[in-house]
Amino acid sequence: MSLAGTVLRSRTLAALTSPHSVDRYLELVNPMWAAREVRARIVDVTREVDVPGHPPVATLTLQPTSTWRGHRAGQHVQVGVEVDGARRTTRVFSISSSDSRPGERFTITVRANPDASRRQSVSRWLVEHARPGTVLHLSQAQGDFVLPDRVPEHVVMISGGSGITPVMSMLRSLQRRSHRGRVTFLHYAQSPEHQIFAGELEEARRSGHGIDVHLLHPELGDPALSPAYLHRLVPGYRDVATWACGPAPLMEAVLASYDGSEALRTEYFRPPRAGTGASGGELVFSRSGAAAANSGAPLLEQAEAAGLTPESGCRMGICLSCVSRKSEGTVRNVVTGEESSLPDEDIRICVSAPVGDCTVYL
């Protein structure tokens, strides 16, 4: 660790800047100086594919602060942006570049979410508006969908849609580590035009390093994922180390094909569930593990009815004693009537009534 880093993280400096953190001062001088927090400056934005009528995809190259601890291929990172110059919104993106070391540049590849409103969509903002020079807020890399240090001789990678990013990171890492074994790479895309990284994958296929690339488009007659198809490509595939990432239907097919095999590692992104505009649905209190049918009453009342005793105060939305983290679902503010569906959002449970299914950390 550098001398500057040691000083910046010292107890003495923390005591001098108390009650604020050292980073609250550093960020005022230069947003790329940090003692503990992680930020990144966008250094490059490259359009991957741009099919008219379909959401564009872009790869962003990020220069993180020296506090970035690096990542292992397959991990993801939380990215926070101030979409309209004021509200910071955070989303998770897979890292698409090969393993990074502390402070080293990496890339994320982002598909603009066509369903989200411009104000709430980090992905749309990143693809459509982010420019080199923009500073983003990051978490450290997270997730255990990663390659082991000792990579098996034969590896299978299966992905669909945006799920290609973490496995692409793995493939790139294997190439950088000069992996000499065999890689079977399967990717399902809507059409050849939607295929990102096509040129690089074609090069990998022709490199002669044992990388079998299969880009599949079932809508154009390519085989869907099935045990029979997998057997034809990789005999005995259930015993071959496999990483799979993609949308729910593909992942269901993968899970069924591998039939509980321990060689399979998976990751998938659940689409946000939209509110139904009515009560009903199920409430999940994720800290206590309790659950209840949604009666449409404010969350505080429903939690109390379920036998929980969440912290609370004024019961009218002014004192913030009851703020809790909602991880999924839509809530309606009973005072303002405003609905919000953001994942991982802090809400005042005394004035927030769930609309449909909802998960709160209580």
Binding site: A15, L16, P19, L28, C319, L320, T336
Partner: protein
């Protein structure tokens, strides 16, 4: 209960509440970049004053300037930033540095405890005698309905001490020392609070009375005195602004019975009658954390304080239409009024007041 006998019919109260809700909605929908830049600018200014203050202590002739800069920094930190951020006024920004859950201020009172005593107790039960612990802070007699006792002959002296040691008074507020003395509270009940306060006190004291003075070497005593002076200036300023918010003449207090089962309109009504403003320039409002707009703050505690001046115009207009008082005056006038009350209530009531409490909510009278 001190209530000037102002009444609204049930229907009027409901309309009054709806109109205030509409103001709130409009501001909420309009929050954006201007509000975010404003609070970031204030933070930047506060940090600049702090750095300047700490640096100027190395230049002994500049000692008064150093004290002034550090005092401004502490006042901004506590009032326009700390108080307002901890009300959740900027939570919508999603910035951890300006989030009510994480903010800690330059004050010996831990933010976690303050949010309970202030955001919850004081803002929910504003001016309800026996519920709002800000009435007299457990030391002073600030309302006619607090029974007189010879102890209160010291009212002006206690007020002076509370002013000088205000941040300590606020930190001890939650310990309910007066209830401990009276045997209504056990020492054990305070164990957790006590630990939190001591941790915060230690941090604040180490920084202001040990580390920064030590860093100036031979100037240690001067720097120490300067830091103490800045804390004192902040205490005196905060005490005076805060006491002008609820204690000048014409502010109503309420009994617990009359506030049972309040509607939203009644709650707004109580916040309005229980608060008082101070007039002044933009700079003055900034230095008070916009608590000079105490009325607007109590109506909308979680809206960014920079909006209070614009909201005030509408609230005044509303008050005129409903025939409600809007208590405002210069700092001198409001302070004089508070001081007079502190002195007057030191003495027993000279005569039994003719008490006509009456219900706050009157039924509509037949035309």
């Amino acid at each position: 209960m001190t209530n000037p006998g102002i009444t609204l019919t049930t229907e009027q109260l409901e309309e009054f509440g709806d109109e205030l809700d509409a103001i709130r909605q409009r501001i909420l929908a309009d929050l954006g970049e201007a509000d975010a830049s404003y609070i970031r600018d204030v933070v930047r200014a506060q940090r600049a004053f702090e750095v300047a203050g700490r640096a100027l202590f190395y230049l002994p002739p500049a000692w008064p300037l150093a004290v002034a800069a550090l005092s401004i920094s502490k006042i901004l930190d506590n009032m326009e930033i700390g108080h307002n951020v901890m009300h959740g006024q900027y939570d919508w920004m999603g910035d951890p540095g300006l989030n009510s859950r994480m903010y800690e201020w330059d004050n010996v009172c831990p933010s976690e405890q303050w949010k309970n005593s202030h955001n919850y107790i004081h803002h929910t039960y504003t001016n309800i005698l026996g519920k709002d612990r800000d009435i007299g802070y457990g030391v002073l007699r600030m309302d006619e309905d607090q029974p007189w006792h010879p102890y209160y002959l010291g009212n002006p002296a206690y007020a002076f001490l509370l002013m000088v040691f205000f941040e300590w008074g606020v930190a001890m507020h939650d310990l309910e020392v007066e209830n401990l003395v009276a045997g209504r509270r056990k020492v054990e009940d305070n164990a957790a609070l006590h630990a939190g306060i001591m941790r915060k006190v230690r941090r604040q004291a180490v920084k202001d009375y040990l580390l920064f003075p030590a860093l100036t070497g031979p100037l240690f005593p001067l720097t120490l005195a300067g830091n103490a002076a800045a804390n004192l200036v902040r205490n005196v300023w905060a005490f005076n602004i805060i006491f002008c918010g609820h204690f000048p003449a014409g502010v109503a207090t309420f009994s617990q019975e009359e506030c049972e089962d309040e509607t939203r309109g009644q709650w707004y009504f109580r916040q309005l009658l229980g608060s008082a403003n101070i007039t002044g320039s933009r700079l003055f409002h900034l230095m008070t954390g916009n608590l000079s707009h105490q009325i607007e703050h109590h109506l909308f505690p979680d809206l960014p304080a920079r909006r209070y001046p614009e909201i005030a115009t509408e609230v005044r207009e509303l008050c005129e239409r409903y025939g409600l008082p809007y208590n405002t005056g210069s700092l001198g006038r409001q302070l004089g009024s508070v001081a007079a009350k502190i002195c007057r209530l030191a003495l027993p009531d000279r005569r039994e007041r003719s008490r006509t409490p009456g219900p706050v909510v009157a039924e509509p009278t037949a035309a």
